[in-house]
């Protein structure tokens, strides 16, 4: 039987929070590996926000954000699907601030949600030709006569290889291979209210169809297959050097297969996202070998399985190492309270905390841990905690009680503690249980002191105090 604390840790990192039902079910499995398999047993299409209820983009942004956060917090039977999509959203970044059409973001996010556990190669190719990405990194303005290297460079530097593992000539070649990919309405498809928006428009006349040297390979040799030329760069970067794979031309990795370098690059990023620490060399090697194993060949699920089953994932250093991002934090608040995103997470509070879905700050995405911590950003968290607590209390004073994920605590039950400090302290445990969160002894002691001294009519402050506890902010 696995250690329940390991399972709780696994669930916090993969499903945002350790829901009691999931914790019980997975703890009853024979091994930790079986628990990981259960977490990863995603079946079925995760669905989509469509149809949009409004033709106004600003309202569609809100609807899509709420849909996604509700999936993370409440509605997904296997939240790893949404958490993985969040990873890819922060990796293959696009921001609606530049894309400017939320339907385009919707398609890209849905791609991450649907295929986020599929295969890196397929995902990279599909993402590259989403209209959101074409717009975000200017590949829609990358033409043979006037190349724009923004996308070609980032594809190598930020998406697949990491900086320093290519030459400027490779950037030129990659950018040229991706010329001719504009975004355009489909002819006759102008019904924007029903989701019509730009798609990839490949313009042969705008494409540079000459053969190019890329990572030691000659690519784009078939001038009639221009629309495949861009994808060839990804095939080379991730390919077997014995077949079509590339070789790193310069830097510390010079001479190594580019796919090994890519596998290490992504392995590190996955580890940081799920574990929060720097991966050890042994971890990187293990994950790289998993990714490049012929049976896997960059399949994401076995890659992630190798990560989640690795013994180092369960060390104390890793278990203590991840500050919840603002998105993770609001998901934890929503999950603990049962409040839905439509009420709980207005965009201005997300911005005050420093992270808003669909609006990453730049192409490098979001960072981790200390990146989120600061007096100002945590003022935003405190405001969010109060905001959600407001909905938890709802009609509390009218007798409805405080509604939390695990049930309702009636006002009468709170009032009954009026004359007993011990009873008020017991209420701390009750509220935490209803939030489905385990408090550390120190937090419990701090809250016990508060409750012991509070009047009964002040006890609902426990909701917001637990919301700002470290337990709620560290996954």
């Amino acid at each position: 039987m696995p250690d329940p604390s390991d399972i709780a840790h696994l669930l916090r990192r993969t499903e945002f929070v350790a829901r009691p039902g999931r914790l019980a079910a997975l703890s009853a499995l024979p091994t930790r590996e079986a628990a990981v398999d259960d977490v990863l047993s995603v079946t079925g299409d995760p669905g989509s926000v469509l149809p949009f209820a409004s033709s106004t983009d600003s309202q569609r942004v809100v609807q899509l954000t709420d849909f996604w956060l509700n999936r993370m917090a409440h509605d997904s039977p296997r939240p790893i699907q949404e958490r993985m999509a969040l990873f890819w959203h922060g990796h293959f970044c696009s921001s609606d601030a530049k894309v400017g059409q939320i339907e385009l973001m919707r398609r890209q996010i849905d791609l991450f949600r649907r295929d986020g556990l599929g295969n890196l190669r397929d995902l990279a190719i599909k993402t590259s030709t989403t209209a959101a990405m074409l717009r975000y990194l200017d590949n829609n303005q990358n033409f043979e006569e006037a190349p724009n290297q923004n996308f070609g460079r980032e594809l190598m530097e930020l998406f697949l290889l990491g900086v320093g593992n290519y030459t400027e000539n490779d950037v030129v070649a990659c950018s040229e291979a991706w010329t001719g990919h504009a975004d355009w309405y489909r002819p006759g498809d102008d019904d924007y209210d029903n989701g019509a928006a730009d798609y990839l428009f490949y313009g042969e006349a705008l494409h540079d169809s000459d053969p190019k040297q890329f990572l030691g390979r000659t690519i784009n040799v078939d001038p009639d297959a221009g629309i495949q030329h861009g994808a060839e760069t990804i095939h080379v970067m991730l390919g077997d050097p014995a077949a079509d794979g590339g070789v790193v031309p310069a830097g510390p990795n010079a001479g190594r297969p580019s796919r090994d370098v890519a596998a290490e690059f992504l392995s590190r990023k996955l580890w940081r996202f799920f574990a929060g620490t720097e991966p050890s060399p042994a971890v990187v090697e293990h994950l790289r070998n998993t990714a490049t194993h012929p049976a896997n060949d960059f399949a994401i699920r076995p890659w992630l399985r190798a990560l989640l089953t690795h013994p180092e994932f369960y060390t104390p250093a890793v278990k203590q190492a991840l500050v919840r991002s603002p998105i993770d934090y609001v998901v934890a608040l929503l999950a603990a309270s049962g409040v839905r995103s439509e009420q709980g997470t207005p965009w201005w509070l997300m911005e005050a905390m420093g992270q808003r879905p669909l609006f990453p700050p730049n192409v490098a995405g979001w960072k981790h841990n200390g990146y989120w911590i600061g007096a100002s950003a945590f003022g935003g968290r405190a405001a969010t905690a109060r905001h959600v607590a407001f909905y938890v209390l709802g009609d509390y004073w009218d007798g409805a009680g405080m509604r939390l994920a695990g049930g309702t605590l009636s006002r009468a039950e709170v009032e009954a503690t009026a004359d007993s400090p011990a009873a008020r302290q017991a209420l701390v445990g009750r509220v935490a249980d209803l939030m489905q969160i385990a408090l550390t002894p120190s937090t419990r002691a701090a809250l016990d002191e508060f409750a012991g001294n509070a009047a009964w009519w002040e006890l609902h402050d426990l909701v917001e105090l637990i919301f700002v506890s470290p337990e709620m902010n560290v996954a």
């Binding site: 590190r268 720097e278 203590q320 911005e351 960072k367 989120w372 600061g374 405190a382 402050d461």
Partner: protein, 827 residues
């Protein structure tokens, strides 16, 4: 040639406004690579690999290393114009035909005609919306630095903004120029109030290697700023969640919430309600900046910015709006800024680049290079600096050469206004442009302007001859007539009686309630701030009760007195004031009895007769050394047979028409007194009424050496009725309580003594309360003398003991105690 589109201004800003630097992440390398360093180079020189070292480098939440701004400290306000401001339509070269040619493109003409500008000279006109800048120019207080830029202009918003914020063209952008200045200024000491961005996050230019600026909100802060007991109890619970046993991030998170509460509580009193702030964000931000300067929290650098300067298209409407906002923001800034700060405040602008001289086809201009920047303030030497770049021969995509290096621009500010050290902060061309007519604080006549009135600011005591400054019975200083229920009386302190009009941070006064119609209390607090949930004096019908207050004076030079119930008259007698300039410093002592007429301790034995004067030697006794100039002592009247008062006067002076303690027959009444000593180190004790005894307990003294007072807005520290600061139980015979003060209720960890108002209520039997430094034996002194049925308050100044704590005891009977913090002493 086409302009390379790059990531937008908003994206670049979002990246440059970082909450944290993650030294090991790919993203960092990406960032450095973007700013021209390449991977791995120049990482955060000196920062360790630990993320924890970075994000809050040892900040004590309430730490305030640098202290208040001094009389000759310069304050810098940096205004960022994000997106690339069009310099040519800001400072218009009205005599340059090239400008008028190049700004015309087919039907498009983006030029501003000479007659439409605000002419500065025959060759220069300001944008017509910059009327406030014209006023500054006419006053000789606006420097226009022409052609500021750097070589090999980068046309990306992202890169160029990184260079400007870093202060390193094409250099590493791990730290910002003000951040590195902060590193030197603070020398590693923690300080949340040395530099701040008015906005949601901390921009690159405020990040140093060890130190960093604080982000303060552009709107009144929320959670953390309330002062009621329930809120304070909540804050204490959150702080108590830090333990050190659950891993580094666990504690860091709890600390960050504590920090956010502290910043909120510190700045909140200086904000107007949201609805009263201007609607345009930059105008509101500069109003907040002015208010925070007025408050003298110690901020030396304030930064704020706004965007939408990237006028590729529709420039006329867009740039006009920006110029209008800039002008409104500066006007608002000076409207709100206390004039006494003018000689210490300089404002400067920056933008990542200017714009092309040629208009494009879209009624706009594209990313350019050099541009003029503004530096203004009362001590700025107005005029033109640098050289206006020539437009001769520029074609569509040519950019103007720069004539002033960005590093020289910054160096002129650092060396001219921030105390020097440009060579430690910047490299490259550091030519000083000599933008300033006078150093900070110095007026045209060569004298230093007095510091304006502020709340707090580390200050020293200036005792004065006691003087009544307010009396609602006679209408002295205030309107005649009692305070009704819920009424607030504003009492002007600055300029009242012996108190000077400027530079007063706090006042020592007796506030007396007279002719109360119901049991009630007064809350005394700094003028113009939100009324805190604290109290100072409790009284009821038939009992005039004085209590000493040591209270921060508001920015309006006043204190306010709030009456809780019924009606009552109010008297205010001033004994001294505190100022950052010059005065006496405080040394706290362990409480010790100085004199007691009942047993002849320190004085001759026997009761005090009607107006009989007794000299009491203070210096040389009870721990007070020779040379002390004033003493903080608790004066108690006892064995009283008829109504009367006690009074302390320095030797060599005639007693004034004020009193320290008022009593009725049978009362045992204490009141704290801060009394100047005569030249011989003595005071005169006298009082009205037949035979009565007097007891004096010393808590500290003032002199040339010692510590300074920092007053803040009052905060409740302890309330045993509410379980705040201690368990919800009365103190009593076997129940003394020790309360940690340092690090709570706004008192920093390095405070040595604290100013409290201590009240006792629910008294079970005649008894007394004594307060002393934790870890020591109970002294033979007292602070409050209690009778059942009364609520009694007294000011307490007490040295902090072990663990920064105080012990409260009532050795005879049970009572609840309430303590509010009004200030503290720090080195």
């Amino acid at each position: 040639m086409t302009l390379h589109r790059d990531i937008s201004t908003a994206d670049a800003l979002a990246h440059l406004h970082r909450r944290e630097t993650d030294p090991h992440a790919l993203d960092r390398r990406r960032f450095l690579q973007l700013v021209g360093m390449g991977a791995g180079g120049g990482l955060l020189g000196g920062a360790s690999g630990s993320l924890l070292d970075w994000f809050v480098p040892g900040h004590d939440p309430s730490a305030w290393a640098a202290g208040a701004v001094g009389p000759n400290d310069g304050i810098l306000v940096i205004v960022g114009m994000y997106g690339g401001n069009d310099g040519l339509n800001t400072v218009v070269p009205i005599a340059d035909g090239n400008y008028y040619d190049q700004r015309r493109n087919g039907d498009v003409d983006l030029s501003i005609a000479p007659e439409n500008t605000l002419a500065l000279d025959s060759a220069t006109g300001l944008n017509p919306h910059l009327t406030e800048f014209k006023r500054l120019w006419d006053a000789g207080q606006l420097a226009i630095v022409e052609g500021v830029g750097y070589g090999f202009q980068d046309l990306s918003h992202f890169n160029s903004m990184a260079y400007w914020m870093a202060g390193r063209p094409h250099g590493p952008a791990g730290t910002g120029w003000i951040g590195r200045w902060l590193d030197g200024y603070l020398a590693g000491r923690p300080d949340l109030y040395a530099a701040a961005e008015i906005g949601n996050s901390v921009p690159l230019h405020l990040l140093g290697t060890q130190s960093r600026g604080t982000g303060v909100p552009a709107e009144p802060p929320g959670w953390g700023s309330a002062t009621d007991t329930r809120s304070e109890r909540g804050y204490q619970a959150v702080r108590a969640m830090r333990t050190g046993v659950h891993g580094p991030w666990f504690d860091a998170v709890a600390k960050a919430f504590g920090d956010s509460f502290d910043v909120a509580a510190t700045v909140a009193p200086y904000y107007p309600p949201s609805a009263q702030l201007p609607g345009e964000p930059i105008v509101a931000k500069l109003e907040v900046a002015a208010r925070l300067i007025n408050a003298n929290l110690g901020l030396r650098v304030l930064t704020a910015g706004w965007d939408d300067f990237d006028s590729h298209a529709g420039q006329p409407v867009m740039h006009t709006a920006r110029m209008h906002e800039l002008d409104a923001a500066v006007r608002r800034f000076y409207e709100v800024l206390h004039p006494g700060w003018a000689s210490r405040v300089t404002v400067m602008t920056f933008s990542e680049f200017g714009r092309t001289s040629h208009a494009n086809h879209g009624h706009g201009t594209d990313h350019g290079s050099a541009a003029p920047q503004f530096v203004f303030g009362a001590n700025v030497a107005g005029g033109f600096y640098g050289e206006r770049p020539s437009l001769a021969g520029l074609t569509q995509w040519d950019r103007m050469p720069h004539t002033v290096e960005m590093t020289s621009y910054y160096a002129s500010i650092i060396d001219g206004w921030l105390g020097g050290g440009a060579g430690d902060v910047l490299t490259g061309n550091l030519e000083n442009l000599h933008l300033f007519a006078r150093p900070p604080g110095v007026l045209a006549d060569g004298t230093t302007a007095p510091l304006p009135t502020v709340i707090g600011g580390r200050s020293m005591l200036v005792p004065v001859a006691p003087a009544r400054v307010a009396d609602t019975r006679s209408g002295l200083g205030v309107a005649a007539g009692p305070l009704g229920p819920g009424a607030t009386l504003k009492v002007r302190i600055a300029g009242a009686g012996p108190v000077p009009a400027d530079g007063v941070t706090a006042v020592v006064a007796n506030v007396t309630t007279v002719a109360a119609t119901e049991p009630h209390y007064f809350t005394v607090y700094p003028g113009g701030t939100a009324r805190p949930a604290t109290s100072n004096i409790n009284s009821g019908p038939g009992r005039p009760v004085p209590n000493l207050v040591l209270i921060g004076v508001g920015l309006d030079g006043a204190i306010e007195v709030y009456n809780s119930h019924g009606s009552a008259h109010c008297l205010v007698d001033v004994f001294g004031y505190f100022t950052p300039g010059a005065g006496d410093r405080f040394t706290p002592l362990p409480p010790a009895r100085l004199f007691d007429t009942r047993i002849g301790h320190g004085v001759r034995p026997g009761p005090l007769g009607e107006l009989e004067r007794i000299e009491i030697a203070v210096a040389g006794n009870a721990g007070v050394p020779p040379g002390a100039t004033a003493v903080a002592l608790n004066l108690t009247a006892t064995d009283t047979e008829a109504p009367g008062f006690l009074r302390l006067t320095p030797t060599g002076r005639e007693p004034a028409e004020t009193s320290n303690v008022n009593f009725f027959a049978g009362d045992v009444v204490p009141n704290l007194a801060i009394c100047r000593l005569g030249p011989d180190g003595k005071v005169i004790l006298d009082g009205a009424g037949p035979a009565k005894h007097a007891v004096g307990d010393v808590f500290g003294y003032f002199g040339a050496a010692g510590e300074r007072l920092q007053c803040g807005t009052p905060r409740r520290l302890l309330d045993t009725r509410e379980g705040l600061g201690a368990a919800k139980l009365p103190i009593g015979v076997d129940r003394a309580i020790t309360v940690t003060v340092a690090g709570r209720a706004g008192v920093p960890a390095d405070a040595t003594a604290v100013v409290l108002n201590v009240a006792a209520t629910s008294v079970s039997a005649p008894s007394f309360v004594t307060v002393w430094p934790a870890g020591q034996a109970m002294p033979g002194t007292s602070n409050l003398n209690l009778m059942p049925g009364q609520t009694i308050a007294n000011l307490v100044i007490c040295r902090l003991g072990a663990g920064g704590a105080l012990t409260f005891a009532n050795p005879l009977a049970a009572c609840d105690v309430i303590a509010d913090v009004f200030g503290y002493f720090v080195p």
